[in-house]
């Protein structure tokens, strides 16, 4: 579950990392992850705070140097072709504070625009209006939410082929959050792009996602399409005889279990046919199989019993 092997070239990936590892002092931030984000995907990278989501994004922008492994964005090596990689990326960083507190928002937008030949000035003006950015406000006086909206303008206005959004809904009140996400969806409808969203607020962005990666303590414990996740992470209600013990190899995938008499309810990972057959072989009867909401399914990989 920790990723795919090296030799999967051929398919076009917007983002691919190969055994990416990163440490901060003695802290392991990333432990050999193999991210694969297909072109055009909306990939949500899920994990608790400190799981390594932000670090992975910083490595992609060559803001951090990995200790081992490497990363590619559209086939460009991030370490040796940093400027080219960054030209493809719209980045909404996790932190809200801006440098240039003395500058006016409008001037900061102009400043950033000067660095992207692909900058779409008419679109930028539209975004400024939609996101309610006031160009004459000083950057230093912005609230968290205003700052986030400014960051969205800066990230979207050059219509980048890759968007890296680190906790994009953080600091936004519910109304603004919905408007922002709607704007993002509209942007994606107009401008095909690959999106990586790092978040622990899965609910807020899940409707956009078609790929899911789960990071846990620096390890990529799951990476699959949304459909695959829906198919392979499901809840089984199983009737078992008295004193029944689950087959040992099921435990690896076993996630949640609530015993109520002779009935066991599990969230199990695996092809449903195989799991059902396996359970039947062990003497249990599968009563029914229920698909899960994306958040539930993804969180299953963060449950304690899963061994990475």
């Amino acid at each position: 579950m920790s990723g795919w092997p090296e030799q999967d070239r051929g398919e076009a990936f917007a983002v691919a990392t190969y055994g990416l590892s990163m440490r901060y002092g003695s802290e392991t931030a990333l432990a050999g992850i193999h991210l694969r984000v297909p072109e055009g995907a909306v990939y949500i990278l899920i994990g608790p705070n400190g799981a390594g989501k932000s670090t992975a994004m910083k490595v992609l922008l060559n803001l951090e140097r990995p200790h081992a492994g490497r990363a590619e964005v559209f086939g460009l090596d991030t370490a040796s072709r940093g400027p080219e990689v960054r030209a493809q990326v719209g980045y909404v960083p996790e932190q809200h504070a801006h440098d240039y507190a003395w500058m006016m928002c409008g001037r900061l937008i102009e400043h950033v625009a000067a660095h992207y030949p692909a900058w779409d000035h008419a679109y930028a003006a539209h975004l400024i209006e939609v996101f309610g950015v006031r160009p004459h406000r000083k950057v230093g006086t912005l609230s968290k939410g205003e700052s986030r909206r400014l960051q969205f303008v800066l990230a979207l206005a050059h219509r980048p082929p890759l968007l890296l959004l680190d906790e994009p809904t953080d600091g936004l009140d519910p109304v603004v959050r919905n408007r922002t996400l709607a704007q993002l969806a509209e942007h994606l409808a107009d401008t095909p792009a690959t999106v990586v969203i790092a978040t622990h607020h899965i609910r807020e962005v899940e409707s956009l996602a078609d790929h899911v990666g789960v990071l846990r303590e620096g390890r990529l414990v799951a990476q699959m399409t949304r459909d695959e996740l829906r198919r392979t992470v499901v809840r089984y209600r199983v009737e078992v005889p008295e004193g029944w013990q689950p087959p040992p190899d099921l435990r690896i995938a076993s996630l949640r279990r609530s015993r109520a008499g002779r009935e066991v309810q599990w969230t199990l990972i695996g092809e449903p046919d195989e799991v059902t057959a396996h359970l039947a072989g062990a003497g249990a009867t599968v009563r029914d199989v229920t698909p899960l909401a994306l958040e539930e399914a993804a969180l299953a990989f963060l449950a304690e019993e899963v061994s990475a």
Binding site: G40, A185, S207, R235, A293
Partner: protein, 141 residues
Amino acid sequence: MLVNLDPNDGRPLYLQIMDEVRRAIVVGTLRAEDPLPSVRELAAELVVNARTVSQAYQELEREGIVYVRRGQGTFVSPAVRRGGGERRRSLAREVAKRALLEARRNGLDAEELVMAIQKLAAEEERAEARLARAAGKGDDE
């Protein structure tokens, strides 16, 4: 047309969108030759990937429920005037599917669900009848 998606619904989003369109047609909020919202509009409104909306529209087109006018958008097919009964049955089937799913999530089986629905429907009927009688009396006084 109002489309609602349920994040707790385990089914793929494009299926949910398809169901919502079908529902709107059965209920009558969408009629033959009515335009569907553009992919872009609906994607923004629902905060979903535009590809999800496209997929739903393509499936609906394949089923003959909608058709695409080049450069103008997606419209409800004139064929929906016919076959209303069948569409109702198919909608009922989808609703039942959802209910069944929800029942199973709560550890109920189909039989229990059907019995509960029948009982509930009977109760509501009686309650309505009572209300109607009460209203009738009120009018008399």
